[in-house]
């Protein structure tokens, strides 16, 4: 891993909702390294989508970056004022694959036309050349008979095939960074596995840096080099894939892992996180997860924990890592995962 391609420092994002202020991103620092594959994991409402939208200047009109900065390849994105400046970044440098392939394509245009539109917007190809490029893109994303399929409309494609088209459009402009926002949530498991495999192979082929956003930790074990766990607008733990799965430190990461049915014992209740995420209209005091954490320490309610370094690549914001903290063991299913892995799925 080399230098960061995208770095975020002390980012705060606010929204104005009916006169009230919502603090959606609360001081996030993050470096996305060139060529890596990073997964951002969190519940709905944790701010993960809002966070990546700031990379492309796509915040809704009622949201703004309150403080902090985002640098992409030396350019300060947070200084951008006009749409024109953003157009250089969007698509050409950073591209995005959205969750629902049913709504992210134009139903009135053929697939081919939509891909060509993206190619001609960002690259100096025209006519025959862009047509050929479109066909090769369709082949790259695994759509058979590209000549025939290019003439069809989105409704003639299945969900998995549509997501392939969306991915083709995203890579058509040769971006450096590909952001995948829940790319497989709307799809079946078999198709999900294929799409994740496809993104991985395109990453290798086009030297992409990929950022996945998902609520399901189960999905990312296969695709991520590093995992950032997001809660209430803050990255509370970040580490390599192995570190987060086999040696998680934050109680919220424990909770997310142990609520996975893959790790559950049949006949027993699955671990479920009590309560609801904090209200971000009000100021959050201490560790945002404390009210839902049955083993929270006193200090968790008073003071916000800083990052504690576990290893050069692994850090977490929890007071449990403070040398003075009492020793609290992760739940049994998490320890079992580290010791034996997941079993019982047909060997």
């Amino acid at each position: 891993m080399s230098e960061p391609i995208l770095s975020v420092r002390g980012l705060n994002v606010m929204f104005n909702l009916r006169g009230k202020r919502l603090h959606a991103i609360r001081g996030v620092d993050l470096d996305v390294m060139k060529g890596e594959s990073l997964a951002i994991v969190g519940e709905s409402g944790s701010g993960k989508s809002v966070f990546v939208k700031t990379f492309m200047g796509l915040l809704d009109a009622n949201g703004w970056i309150d403080s902090g900065e985002i640098t992409y390849n030396g350019e300060k994105l947070t200084d951008y004022k006009t749409e024109k400046q953003w157009l250089k970044i969007r698509g050409g440098e950073i591209a995005m694959v959205l969750q629902d392939p049913m709504t992210s394509l134009n139903p009135l245009k053929t697939i081919g036309a939509q891909i060509i539109e993206a190619i001609e917007l960002h690259r100096p190809l025209r006519g025959r050349q862009s047509y050929e490029e479109m066909l090769s893109l369709l082949r790259d994303v695994g759509i058979p008979e590209p000549e025939r399929r290019a003439k069809q409309y989105p409704h003639e494609f299945s969900g998995g095939m549509r997501q392939r088209v969306v991915i083709a459009i995203a890579v058509a402009c040769r971006p450096k960074v590909l952001i995948c926002d829940e790319p497989t949530t709307a799809l079946d498991v078999t198709i999900q596995a294929q799409i994740l495999g496809l993104i991985r192979s395109l990453k290798a082929k086009y030297n992409l840096t990929t950022v996945y956003i998902t609520h399901d930790l189960g999905v990312v074990a296969n695709v991520a080099d590093r995992i950032a766990v997001m809660y209430a607008g803050d990255i509370i733990e970040i580490g390599t894939c192995d570190e987060v799965f086999y040696d998680p430190k934050h109680p919220y990461t424990w909770a997310l892992l142990s609520s996975l049915p893959q790790l559950g014992e049949k006949g027993e209740n699955l671990y479920s996180i009590k309560g609801t995420p904090p209200n971000l209209f009000a100021e959050v005091k201490g560790d945002a997860f404390a009210p839902r954490n049955p083993q929270a320490l006193k200090i968790d309610f008073v003071k916000r924990p800083p990052y504690f370094e576990v290893s050069p690549t692994h850090k977490a914001k929890t007071w449990l890592l403070d040398p003075r903290a009492p020793k609290i063991e992760p739940p049994e299913s998490v320890r079992k995962l580290a010791a034996e892995g997941v079993s019982g799925f047909g060997e």
């Binding site: 498991v189 078999t190 399901d216 999905v219 049949k266």
Partner: protein
């Protein structure tokens, strides 16, 4: 299974066939599917989109008419023309939980009406007080506050809305619940809550579930027996443990290989197995539905069955 004799068949599907469209456009969504569901168990139906798994559930609850075959509920036929009393009885006994709680609740009705709707059409006249008592009981059974009755669905989160959907089924005091992808549209942390709620209700009331899903990782956790459906045809049926220990049919193995694992070591060297129906050569040797070990059925021709038998012995 030791207590094979004691188990009572609650619902029995015999040779179900469901067709859509007419003449040239005719499409067979479910083709000769038969299975029994025992009282108190959770029976899983798994398959990809388009496999017909949802259609099976909907045909049982009589949303789609069957073109052939029959459904027996406690030994009584419930599909086709049935008497009015039986119709009411079945409507009460069999209830459904839907996939997307954002789409399955009437946005313009308050929660008390949504939950009580089944009571209005049950044929029994309830007084207002009785109805209200039943609604608040159903709401508290699913872990919601009875005060929520006067609110609208949009005021609730996805997990709470799914609970409302479950309360709506529970108020009829059903024996049998068809849950069609009840957690696919939910966040991981909320999935756990809904799964736990369903299993608690099963323990308290002896409910029987038909659990429809595309995700085998969830099924392993909740189901007692699992049927695998591909393109409207049942290809394998087994006890949950058997199916995960000895998946025989290539389609089952493909589904299993696609399940995402929260285990990087395992995922790194995982191979995804893609099922291609063209691998079967059924031109001469026709496939049959065979019980290959006790309680474990699979579809295959003689040659394949011989291989499967070897696999089971391993």
């Amino acid at each position: 299974m030791a207590n094979e004799e004691k188990r009572e068949v609650l619902l029995s599907v015999r040779g179900m066939e469901v067709c859509f469209g007419k003449r040239r456009q005719r499409f067979k969504a479910v083709d000769d599917v038969s299975f029994d569901i025992y009282r108190g168990e959770t029976f899983g139906v798994v398959g990809e989109s388009g496999s017909g798994k949802t259609t099976i559930g909907r045909a049982i609850i009589r949303i789609h008419p069957m073109t052939r075959g029959e459904v027996l509920y406690r030994g009584q036929r419930i599909n086709g023309r049935i008497s009015r009393e039986l119709d009411r009885e079945v409507t009460r006994r069999i209830q459904m939980i839907f996939q997307d709680p954002m789409a399955s609740l009437n946005e313009r009705a308050k929660v008390d009406y949504i939950v009580a709707e089944g009571l209005y059409s049950s044929g029994v006249k309830y007084t207002r007080a009785e109805r209200e008592a039943k609604v608040s009981k159903a709401l508290s059974d699913v872990g919601l506050l009875p005060e929520f009755a006067s609110r609208f669905p949009h005021e609730f989160s996805g997990g709470q809305r799914q609970r409302i959907g479950i309360a709506r089924a529970l108020i009829m005091e059903p024996e049998f619940i068809i849950a069609d992808e009840p957690i696919s549209a939910l966040d991981v942390s909320i999935r756990a809550q809904v799964l736990n709620l369903m299993s608690e209700l099963q323990k308290q009331r002896g409910l029987t579930y038909l659990f429809i899903s595309h995700d085998l990782s969830v099924m392993k956790f909740v189901c007692d027996r699992i049927a695998v459906i591909h393109k409207g045809v049942m290809v394998e049926l087994a006890d949950c443990e058997q199916l995960f220990r000895h998946p025989l049919h290539p389609y089952t193995r493909a589904l299993l290989s696609a399940v995402p694992m929260p285990d990087p070591r395992r995922e790194k060297d995982k191979e995804i197995f893609v099922y291609d129906p063209a691998m079967h050569d059924y031109s001469v040797d026709k496939p049959r539905w065979v019980e290959i070990e006790p309680g474990h059925f699979v579809r295959g021709n003689e040659k394949e069955l011989a291989e499967y038998r070897e696999n089971v012995l391993k």
